[in-house]
């Protein structure tokens, strides 16, 4: 598969985008990506959307949002797993030989979505919903498990959170929140033992759009300068149950990266120059780094990752945008010198049930 990213736009992050409807956020971002690619909407032959009805607050939300996402009278498909899953579907479409130039968009306006209630209603109604499982509680179960298996203690987590905020503070494309003092992190209330509120990244509003082109299209348009080639992709989803093996083995995470690395012709994650991880809590970050064997690698989430911005559901797309900036040398204060190949990751579902990884190569 020979597919390139030729344009992108990331909506300005915000805790709450109060001056725009979601349709306007989506339109502005899709429009921005087309402009960045230097192509018109007429030229694109397909659109792919990644969105969640429940978080958008409307059944079949793409009824309303497909048009601002550029899909009016265009070939359009929508997936509901995560932003980066939609990216992979879009890449397969652009690389199929049937289509050649596509637009992919994902978004989240979680400031107006009751996220924990949405997550509770993901539980089947017989056993897990009545006991009140939600995102925080399942992340707490995950934290307990990985702390035990990987020897993660709370001080490590507190340091990881502070480092995340430090990196994020340097990122001009992020929220640039102040780095919280250590005692604020270590004394914040427990949400679900051992997970504290400070260990979770705040959720933000956001949207990301990208224009993808096949190798054939790029070859026929010599004036087009691609931002990156998609060197590898992988996505896996684990089971619904929350047992120790499922939570702690990180099988889906490891296999997702193995798939993407294999497609890119790489053997190990440490061959990557940059990895932008979707680590919704400090426990996630430490467990993921340990599973990948990159504990010593400096260039893990140099953007600050979820602590820079975290438009839950589409966070993998912001990671993809950061990875693409890195391989172009355009990441500014968060630039990793000499970065040529970078991975973006997204986690989705209860306690990282699903994972997606995309590897970008500078062109």
């Amino acid at each position: 598969m020979d597919v390139y990213v030729i344009g992108m736009d990331v909506h300005d992050p915000s805790d709450r985008v109060a001056d725009k409807r979601l349709e306007e956020m989506v339109f502005d971002t899709a429009r921005g990506a087309l402009d960045d690619a230097g192509v018109s909407r007429d030229e694109i032959d397909h659109v792919t959307i990644a969105a969640c009805d429940e978080l958008d607050g409307r059944s079949i939300s793409s009824m309303l949002l497909a048009t601002p996402a550029g899909a009016y009278l265009k070939d359009e498909l929508k997936c509901t797993d995560s932003g980066l899953t939609g990216f992979c579907l879009a890449a397969m479409r652009a690389g199929s030989g049937v289509f050649h130039l596509g637009l992919v968009s994902s978004w989240n306006k979680s400031s107006v979505a009751p996220v924990e209630e949405v997550m509770n209603s993901r539980c089947e109604p017989f056993f897990t919903r009545p006991i009140g499982l939600n995102m925080s509680i399942t992340d707490g179960l995950f934290a307990q498990t990985v702390a035990d298996i990987y020897g993660i203690d709370e001080d490590d987590v507190n340091r990881a959170v502070m480092e995340g905020y430090r990196r994020a503070h340097k990122n001009p494309r992020g929220m640039q929140r102040q780095v919280p003092p250590a005692h604020e992190i270590s004394n914040s209330p427990h949400l679900a033992y051992p997970l504290r509120k400070s260990h979770q990244a705040p959720i933000t509003d956001g949207a990301v759009s990208m224009v993808l082109a096949s190798g054939e299209w790029v070859a026929e348009h010599p004036n087009c300068r691609p931002l990156a080639r998609i060197a590898g992709m992988g996505w896996r989803t684990e089971g619904y149950s929350l047992g120790r093996d499922r939570l702690g083995a990180l099988t889906g995470f490891r296999d997702t990266f193995e798939d993407a690395l294999g497609m890119a012709g790489l053997l190990d994650a440490d061959e990557l120059d940059v990895i932008e991880l979707d680590s919704q809590t400090g426990y996630h970050e430490l467990a993921f780094k340990s599973a990948l064997g990159v504990e010593g690698l400096d260039a893990v989430s140099p953007s600050g990752g979820v602590f820079a911005q975290n438009p839950y559901f589409c966070t993998g797309m912001t990671n993809a945008a950061e990875a693409i900036l890195q391989v172009n040398g355009l990441a500014g204060p968060t630039q990793v010198q000499g970065a040529h190949i970078a991975a973006a990751h997204q986690s989705h579902g209860f306690a990282q049930q699903g994972h997606v990884a995309v590897i970008f190569e500078g062109v």
């Binding site: 079949i60 497909a66 048009t67 049937v98 049930q353 699903g354």
Partner: protein
């Protein structure tokens, strides 16, 4: 042209009915997956990736229900994604599966889903929630009333009567008698349709599909595996899924690009699908149509937009039995169609399965003789998502 030809080598459908008291949602999905794997002569380990077909999960009451289903469809730690485009979901899901294989990313993909539409006391209440909460919820807009508006416009444009629409229902229920999985079937008359209780003009109860529950699945693979696994695979030779505006008022009148009454995304979707499939004249080349027709008024504008006759001509052809299985221009909905079975999350997949089975020679009593090319469609949203998929006994080289 696809980099890898894609073929259907196995299909599975549960029986469809209002309620399956003995099965929960995930068991229905599992039953469909098992049937498709058995039909393909495969075991779960031979599946590389899974696409899950499910429309709004509000019908059955568990958000993102595909995540609950993963173990049951043998999807643990496999590449897995859910596709959702409202009523068109099944049509979109099989096309997403197609791209998994056509791109060369995966060899063999299971597309599977289920729905339990009757879990909610009134699915039209849920379908009211697809509309704008400030302007449209309060005046009872749902998929019945929405479609009634389009039907009235079609009647106004072309003079079709309620009795003429009723004949579509009579034909569908008759065809469904040969479909062992169909929900509604039987010998009924135009009077039966006309005398059923009024719901929303021009619809009476019998003009409207049932709320069905059940599961459906297909196995897609590349041509090399297909050659090994199936003596007569159904190649997917064309895929298109055109999206229109949600705003029905913008799709009629002087300034509109198209007309809402004409199911105005099908023509573009069909042109693209036919181009990919190498179909020049659908009337001469297509043997079977499996149309998405949850209302009696859907077939005529669909047949016209898909190029099987001119605008406003489908009604008269129906009067002359031109859409019958035997002796018609093309065999329309040998399965009975969506009027007889509508498990919304997989309805488009059921259309595709019934079309593919015709090509594979596995349609049983519904089999159309010498079927070599079949078209399956689906529609979703405010009659705004249009999918058209072509199936053939050979791939386009």
């Amino acid at each position: 042209m696809a980099k890898q030809p894609v073929a259907v080598v196995g299909t599975g459908q549960t029986r469809f009915r209002s309620h399956h008291a003995d099965k929960n949602y995930v068991e229905l999905a599992q039953d469909a997956a098992k049937l498709a794997l058995d039909d393909a002569g495969m075991v779960p380990d031979e599946i590389d990736a899974i696409v899950f077909s499910m429309s709004p999960t509000h019908f059955m009451g568990v958000n993102d229900v595909e995540r609950w289903s993963i173990e049951h469809v043998w999807g643990v730690n496999k590449p897995f994604m859910r596709v959702h485009t409202g009523g068109a979901t099944g049509g979109s899901a099989i096309q997403a599966g197609y791209f998994h294989v056509a791109s060369g990313m995966y060899d063999t993909v299971l597309v599977v889903g289920a729905d339990r539409v009757a879990e909610t006391p009134d699915s039209q209440h849920v379908l009211n929630l697809i509309w704008d909460r400030f302007y449209e919820h309060d005046f009872a807009l749902n998929t019945v009333t929405m479609t009634a508006l389009a039907a009235q416009r079609y009647m106004h444009k072309y003079g079709t009567t309620e009795e003429q629409f009723a004949k579509v229902v009579v034909r569908g229920r008759k065809n469904a008698l040969k479909n062992e999985t169909a929900h509604l079937k039987g010998s009924i008359t135009v009077d039966d349709v006309m005398n059923s209780p009024r719901v929303s003009y021009p619809f009476k109860r019998f003009d409207i599909c049932p709320r069905s529950s059940g599961g459906a699945a297909v196995v897609l693979t590349n041509k090399d595996v297909a050659k090994e696994k199936c003596s007569r695979p159904a190649f997917m030779t064309g895929v298109s899924s055109i999206t229109h505006s949600v705003f029905m008022g913008d799709r009629q009148g002087y300034w509109a690009d198209t007309d809402f009454a004409d199911q105005d995304g099908y023509d573009r979707a069909a042109q693209e699908c036919y181009r990919q499939a190498g179909i020049i004249d659908p009337v001469r080349e297509v043997d079977v149509l499996e149309l998405y027709d949850p209302f009696s008024t859907f077939q005529f504008p669909a047949l016209e937009s898909l190029g099987f006759c001119g605008r406003g001509e489908a009604t008269a052809i129906n009067e002359d039995n031109g859409w019958e299985i035997d002796g018609g221009i093309v065999a329309v909905n040998p399965s009975g169609g969506t009027l007889c079975t509508n498990p919304i999350g997989v309805t488009g997949l059921v259309r595709a399965i019934d079309a593919a089975k015709q090509i594979m020679g596995r349609a049983g009593d519904m089999q159309v003789k010498n079927a070599k090319k079949a078209i399956a469609t689906a529609i979703g949203g405010s009659t705004q998502f249009f999918t058209v998929s072509a199936f053939s006994d050979d791939y386009v080289s």
